[in-house]
């Protein structure tokens, strides 16, 4: 595919932000952090606010509406932000910035973002890309929990419990969100919920045992992933007093 130009370097003020539209029509916000350039989704993942209206001090990007913040080098959420920003790697040639390919769901994701390159590559090699039509059932209660999933696009709905006693268990809609994480836990051999695609969905399927072996071979990354997994589980399971 032809290279897609995003903007001129000189368009972005020093330690400033600008919304740009890449050739072919992708809107992104470009941040100039002391002469390094970072591209992100143009709109806040919280509530349709253009991030170019936000505050930027050269390191932290803040949406002015509800003060969600991100690390401009990675897009990782800081403070009260509940979701990462989708990052678009940029390549510089002279005075021009080009899209340098899209980051994968694993890169963006809440569990694996920013891991050591070799470990991330091993995980990427374990990931099988799958597409499912709207309405497809991915698993149901009692199914063996062998794989976990990373959402690339679409929406997944969860129901906890069986049959007419099933209760809504939330839904996933952001690129990089991880579900079916029972496959990463000891002592959880079976699914406790059903997962169904609400829209056509594209996913990465990763075998839990194989991923754990990769993480065991790089315990520093493994520790980071397990801390994040604990935080993620707490977030989904939290009731009052347990946040």
């Amino acid at each position: 595919m032809a290279k897609r130009m995003v903007c001129r370097v000189s368009d972005i003020p020093e330690n400033g932000l600008k919304e740009c539209e890449a050739e072919g029509g992708l809107k992104l916000v470009v941040a100039n952090a002391g002469g390094e350039f970072f591209g992100f989704q143009a709109i806040c993942p919280h509530q349709e606010v253009p991030l170019c209206e936000g505050l930027f001090d050269g390191a932290t990007l803040t949406c002015h509406m509800h003060l969600w913040q991100w690390d401009v080098r990675t897009g990782a959420p800081l403070g009260i932000a509940e979701a990462p920003l989708q990052r678009y790697p940029l390549e510089r040639e002279g005075d021009a910035l080009y899209l340098g390919g899209e980051s994968t769901a694993l890169d963006v994701g809440e569990l694996f973002n920013g891991l050591a390159g070799a470990t991330l590559e091993k995980l990427v090699s374990l990931a099988k890309k799958e597409s499912h039509p709207a309405g497809a059932l991915l698993y149901r209660p009692g199914d063996p929990a062998e794989d976990f999933f990373v959402l690339d696009s679409g929406r997944i709905e969860f129901l906890i419990g069986r049959g007419d006693r099933a209760a809504p268990g939330g839904f996933m809609l952001r690129k990089g969100e991880v579900f079916g994480w029972a496959a990463l836990l000891e002592g959880y051999p079976a699914r406790i919920a059903s997962a169904r695609c609400l829209e056509d969905a594209s996913l990465l399927r990763i075998n839990g045992k194989a991923a754990l072996r990769v993480l065991e071979s790089d315990p520093a990354s493994g520790f980071v992933v397990m801390r994040r997994l604990a935080a993620l589980i707490a977030r989904y399971l939290a009731t009052s007093g347990a946040k």
Binding site: Q47, H64, L67, A167, S240
Partner: protein
């Protein structure tokens, strides 16, 4: 009517009465549905209809611009016409134990006082004892006027019977025109509350920075009252910046002078007038500075941001300007900047 809300993390169901806004029905059940202004402006309580029908009480609400996709609506403005299933794209949790769960109740307007040419204070005597946290607000609706207006309580009392308010007259503001239009002593209001997360508890253990524009001082008075009652300023510092245009707009100066805490510094910022000599003599405990309140706060606070929790209230442009100072100059973390943006 049964309302089912599917949130990012789980589902909830609760009952709404006929004519009751979906948001208020969920909140009074103890489900911490997302909201900020609760009055149609901010768009935070956006939801998507999965099944059922709603009646929109204010289709022209400014917050509708955040809810433009098919099926989207504001929970603070819509009532259920039949059983509903909704989707809320946020993580929703039950309110914490001990939270002051909002309820609808009635109250009687008492002690109406004019504080300035365009500010009135009154006490709403409630028919039931109510708890609220310092810094919270409530929604008020006089009989015969459609829709609620949000005002912060300026007192603090546990298990009290009174919510005290200050109301600034706004051109075309239905509630303020109602209040200024006649003697309202004894009038009945419907009140829903308490609401809002810009609250203060003495267990916080941080120095307090309060920046208020105009009637935004109300919530700060509640916070200072709560802090003072707990002897907070014997252990922590407090800085209050109160922005008004001219001395003609000043109120609560006596109440602020009464705190007399060595650790609490109160600065009144006048944006459109040099400080009159007489003012300085009249209010020796208070400090006066010329300028917009966020600029004055920025000047005076330089080097004093250690261990600070900031509270901000006032007209939205003043709140935005103050937040900018707190983030970019003070480098406060976002969990230490508390504000409720309602106008």
């Amino acid at each position: 009517m049964r309302i089912q809300v599917n949130a990012r993390n789980r589902g909830y169901d609760f009952d709404a009465q006929s004519g009751e806004r979906v948001l208020y029905a969920g909140l009074r059940t103890g489900i911490d549905l997302p909201y900020e202004c609760a009055t149609g402006t901010c768009g935070t309580c956006k939801a998507k209809l999965v099944s059922g029908r709603v009646r929109d009480r204010w289709p022209g609400a400014p917050g509708r611009k955040f809810a433009r996709q098919a099926g989207e609506f504001l929970m603070c403005q819509c009532e259920a016409e039949e059983e509903l299933t909704l989707e809320v794209s946020k993580f929703v949790y039950p309110m914490e134990p001990g939270a002051c769960v909002p309820q609808t109740c009635r109250g009687t307007v008492r002690s109406v006082r004019r504080l300035t040419h365009d500010v009135i204070a009154f006490a709403l005597e409630l028919e039931r004892l109510r708890d609220f946290d310092a810094g919270q607000f409530a929604l008020l609706a006089p009989e015969g006027i459609d829709g609620y207006r949000a005002y912060s309580m300026c007192n603090y009392e546990r298990g009290g019977r009174s919510f005290d308010f200050v109301v600034k007259r706004k051109p075309d503001g239905a509630f303020s025109e109602w209040l200024f239009g006649a003697d309202r002593d004894g009038a009945r209001l419907e009140v829903f509350g308490p609401l809002g997360k810009a609250t203060f508890e003495p267990g916080l253990g941080k120095n307090l920075l309060c920046i208020a524009g105009g009637s935004g001082i109300a919530g700060m008075m509640s916070i200072l009252a709560r802090a003072d009652a707990a002897d907070y300023f014997s252990r922590h510092k407090g800085y209050l910046f109160f922005g008004i245009r001219t001395m003609r707009d000043a109120f609560f100066l006596q109440e602020l002078s009464n705190f007399k805490e060595a650790n609490l510094a109160v600065t009144v910022a006048l944006s459109e007038e040099e400080i009159p000599e007489k003012t300085k003599q009249d209010w020796p405990v208070l400090k006066f500075e010329k300028g917009l309140v966020h600029e004055v706060a920025k000047r005076e606070m330089a080097g004093k941001y250690q261990n600070v929790r900031a509270y901000v209230a006032g007209p939205p442009p003043a709140v935005d300007a103050a937040i900018r100072v707190l983030l970019l100059d003070a480098k406060l973390t976002t969990d230490n900047i508390r504000y409720d943006k309602f106008s």
